[in-house]
Symmetry: C2
Subunit: 452 residues, 2 copies
């Protein structure tokens, strides 16, 4: 069976192929060399935040858990790997039985992160862990980038709701994940029906200029929409002349008209004029929704305008200038041998070029100041200091191959709001700056390399 049967525009039988070829050839070489079963610890982290950003947002964890659970090599996939001669028969046999049986710990989804934060830690044999690199990074890099943009936009919007409308500006399935990440970051709803279907996110809609243009007169279009959707609907008022459209809208729907949408022009100016006109027409309860290439800066600039809700598309789904994170998945420790109980050796790339990593299995904790506000991201590889024991950030996600930390998306959304609220106030400044809290390494800055 494959997804062609479902009419999806993809044809990939499982998550196992969302994988770079070298993961499989490294597996083959390690199986032959007898090193594949060495116990290994991989960590996901980022060396820096996107330029000027003050915090990152962990998103996609729930999707990672699905992907790990469903990472299986079925006969179609094995046939493809055989036909293309990507790996040998011994490796194919090994892959046919693949189920991740290790442990995954990570920052809970919605939590904030900083440079060096060990966002996820995957532990098991080298063989079972190395295969998961690509799909884990795909999900976390994409979803966290969107959630970070969403979080900044929701800070800027304050109490006004944000609607995610970006499906048309990104890959059709990335759009579904983007809606999910936007919800985590504080958006209230989405226009994307697939996101509503898959994740239960509230869906909303207004209408397009095409609907007005379909009809002989704007009035006919408004009447058709109100007749069908009720007076609480949102009418789009900028197809021809905004002032005339607002007058017609209130004539057609009465002062009970739910909302009007403005999708072009100087939104600050137009919103003020439309508010005044609506009020003069008695439609004091009619809301104003603005859309039109909004980003967090445009949203902030409309804070004093009489706007009731924002619809955001392009800038949300493209991460507002940072469409991906730079998270990496690095081997930080591995056993000396495949013997049971063989001690772990911390390992790290040592070459020049700014890509040096810190070896060793890490813990992380967020230290608070005397007012209970986050003060530092503390990371270490040895014993956790007693005063940080109850501030640790990593939680158990997968235990012996079984997912143990599923949670509803609303819990994730609430967690993000709480985590952000616990940062210093300058976290939500939109201006470019440094990470809002420093990352401190204790127990020494670097692990020992494993012999060169």
């Amino acid at each position: 069976m494959n997804t062609a049967d479902l009419g999806l525009p993809v044809d990939v039988p499982s998550t196992a192929l969302f994988t770079d070829q070298y993961e499989l050839t490294m597996l083959q070489a390690a199986l032959k060399a007898g090193t594949a079963e060495r116990r290994s610890v991989f960590e996901v982290f980022t060396r820096r935040l996107p330029d000027g950003r003050r915090y990152g947002v962990v998103a996609g964890t729930g999707r990672v858990l699905d992907a790990v659970e469903n990472f299986r090599f079925d006969p179609d996939v094995l046939g493809f790997l055989r036909e293309r001669k990507i790996v040998d028969e011994q490796t194919l046999t090994w892959l046919a039985d693949y189920r991740f049986s290790g442990d995954i710990w990570g920052y809970p989804e919605g939590e904030v992160y900083f440079p060096g934060s060990p966002i996820m830690r995957v532990e098991g044999t080298f063989a079972e862990c190395v295969l998961l690199e690509t799909v884990i990074l795909s999900i976390l890099n994409h979803d966290s980038a969107i959630a970070a943009a969403a979080s900044r936009m929701s800070s800027a919007a304050g109490d006004r709701p944000l609607v995610e409308m970006g499906a048309r500006r990104t890959h059709e399935l990335a759009a579904v994940a983007a809606s999910r990440a936007a919800y985590v970051g504080g958006f209230a709803s989405t226009s994307d029906l697939a996101a509503g279907f898959r994740y239960g996110i509230p869906t909303v809609g207004t209408s397009a200029h095409a609907f007005t243009l379909l009809h002989d007169r704007e009035r006919d279009a408004f009447q058709a929409q109100v007749h069908s959707m009720g007076r609480g609907t949102t009418l789009l008022v900028d197809t021809y002349d905004v002032a005339e459209a607002v007058r017609t809208a209130v004539e057609v729907a009465g002062p009970e008209l739910g909302a009007v949408r403005i999708d072009s022009g100087d939104l600050l100016l137009v919103a003020h004029r439309v508010r005044q006109q609506l009020d003069e027409l008695g439609a004091t309860g009619t809301r104003i929704i603005v859309t039109s290439d909004l980003d967090e800066y445009a949203i902030a600039s409309l804070a004093a305008a009489p706007v009731d809700a924002y619809g955001v598309g392009t800038q949300l789904v493209t991460g507002s200038g940072h469409p991906t994170c730079s998270m990496v998945y690095k081997l930080v420790a591995r056993a000396e041998s495949t013997a049971a109980g063989a001690p772990l050796v911390p390992v790290a790339k040592k070459s020049t070029g700014g890509k040096t990593s810190i070896g060793g299995r890490k813990w992380a904790a967020r230290r608070l100041d005397e007012y209970g506000v986050a003060e530092a991201e503390v990371i270490g590889t040895e014993a956790v200091p007693a005063e940080l024991a109850d501030r640790q950030l990593l939680v158990e996600l997968v235990k012996g191959g079984t997912v143990v930390a599923r949670e509803p998306l609303d819990a994730v959304r609430d967690r993000h709001a709480a985590a952000r609220a616990n940062l210093p106030l300058s976290a939500t400044q939109l201006s470019r700056g440094e990470p809002v809290i420093p990352t401190e390494y204790v127990n020494g800055r670097t692990g020992s390399p494993a012999g060169a």
Copy 2:
């Protein structure tokens, strides 16, 4: 049935939900108003290229054809729409029978485009066409953005092959589409196994720092890899000390070593040193592959370096600064009534704000100069001038609901290379500039609006 059965990290039964809610509510209102069956013409175009870009690349057309063919509302989807009260029963009944039965014309995939180019034209009833807006734009906006970046990179790389390695930097399914678009734009291969499986794109792989770190000595890792993959393999030489690694690599694999990969540091400098060292060791045929946040500028800057191939990740899958296009899907003409043969009326948004469109069903042709080089993108709404009749750009893609223009991806890739080669030489300058040929409108600049 849904994709959960397949272990995909998505759960969407068909392409019909890759749709903004307002498409369905507009349908409902138009059905009630008696306007849903008015014959309509929608066009996909962009008002501008990304800032500084000289041409765009049409990509995703083949995926659009799949999506249109599979746009169906099955019982699961209808149940969702009913439960959420998104549309009424009359509309659900209409949707249950939905099959697109209209016509689609468009620029053939791989063709270049300019501001205003009518990249795709969808014609049928308003009802059947309006529903396709979101999914068509998702696909074209994403895939064309990636293909445009790929095209610039392949120009910069000249005859040296480019490997797409960006899966980990974008959504796991966007990655598959990105590999496809990169191939259209001139890339030679991909690391993404799903793209190899789905689209037959050649797949390649090297190895990661983790593989070296897994072993007690770099030499052990190299021996394991060569033992498993043969001497033609690519060894990663920048885990510890590059010069020592190159020496070890040639000792282990002999001068028949296929390639070495450098993933960090000053690539220009390191490539020169490694080339010299390889040559001194007699490994004159060993190739050098560089990877490390490359974009088209970095690739161009390595033109004089002894580099044999480039691996590109982040910048490719994020469109090298422009992760989406700004393509829109606009109603440009519709029938006066639902009567058979009712004449088409050109329509266009008239409000201020820089979003004015040009009404009327359009043709497009590329005019050549006396040397056969492209000179202008000519667009019109009336009769095609005789001298441009055989230079028309739109081809028939779907006829009466049936896809008539499937083609192999290699044909698309070849078409792009030919189309780019036919542009003025300055098209492939990397510096920021204007579109390399102007867009000329004939038969009047604007269509008549359909009454306000």
